[in-house]
Amino acid sequence: MLDQISTTVEKGEVVAIIGPSGSGKSTFLRCLNLLETPTSGEIYINGQNILDRKTNITEIRKNIGMVFQHFHLFPHMTVLENIAYAPQKVKKIKKGEAVEKARQLLAKVGLSDKESAYPNQLSGGQKQRVAIARALAMEPEIMLFDEPTSALDPEMVKEVLDVMKDLVKTGMTMLIVTHEMRFAREAADRILFLADGKIVEEGDPESFFTSPKTDRAKEFLSKLL
């Protein structure tokens, strides 16, 4: 699926990963917290090789938030419980404190009025904002976004992207698999263009979008609206 991917992401950097469907973008992202296990290679996070057998992956994952295309909120918990669950269970934070923190995060994503709603009572955009808050509740250093707006109705894309832009401003390290080219161009520090399981081109957004160097990237960009 993936072949010879090699790159380094600096702290505070925002990297947009783009490319045609089936190019391995999601697989690449999912390797970073070992939801997918690579057959060979090395992945270092804060200087620690996460593929090392001695590494406790649960510890590493606490530090990496992930947002999924299909949200994957816990359907049997309220919005507030969704956000406060992991800090209580994983970081052993007291309930009152975790709930307080969850309320702050909900306010940040603009959903304070939905704290006792269940996920099925929310729109797609609202679900995704809760999912972002849930990931942030663990206070991760790195955030992974796996096509966070691909499953949304068009009118809900903006509210999610706005939350992500706010996050960029806080200096969070972010890797974002996306099809939102305008967002990638505005928000990212660097573009990784993947095709057929390889990094075909990488560089700053301006030069990538205005003057792509490879034919593969040119062809991809020419097909966009």
Binding site: K62, M66, H72, F74, H76, Y85, N120, R134
Partner: protein
Amino acid sequence: MPEKIGGSCLRQGKGKPPISCFLRELIAGKEVLIMNVDFSKLQPYVPFILTGIWTTLKFVFVSALIGLLLGTVLALMKISKSRLLKAFADGYTSIFRGTPLILQLIIIYYGVPQLTGYDMPEFLAAIAAFGLNSAAYVSEIIRAGIMAVDKGQREAAQALGVPYRPMMLDIILPQAVKNILPALMNEFITLTKESAIVSTIGYLDLMRRAQIVGANLYRNFEALLFVGLIYWVMVFIMTSIGRRVERRLRQSDIG
């Protein structure tokens, strides 16, 4: 001696009497003679048969409990990472689902005493056979229910760094219950009906009692029909409860 229904109808004329004649007399409260069915003879045995409801339910309940506990353990083995546990649970299921229940029962009742010298009471043999057998089915139900929970739920929990145990207990199992409960209710209904098999080892359940009464009366149909009705009512009640539970689950369906 009350006048039999049909008697007057048959006397009325040649050929087959109209069905309305029988109905009229039936409504008038006369005994039914047609087809030689006479429920009045059953009357003295009714308490004896009704006691069988308790005997049957008692052993079905205990068997279901054993099946549920053992089945849960087996299901956890099946989804565990250990190959050994998985192989054991799969082998167990294969054996108990792959052989007749009546054979299992008879092996336990007649076979085990031969090996151990311990003369097993009917009740113990019955709950052992039904409990062990049910566990195989229950384990499959629970395993399937857990597997049916969206893969994304597990991934979301993993990505948050939630360890295995709390993930199963707080995230996966509460959602699996919704898949498991209706199928489990079906399994217990099946168990109730199949329980009639214990009559073969002489356990005094509903079925056995019907056979005894039939032998005493030299007429089998009435007693058998009577316990048939009892089984049906029991299953009907269980089905109604199952429906209600299912509806409640669907109302709280928050997927």
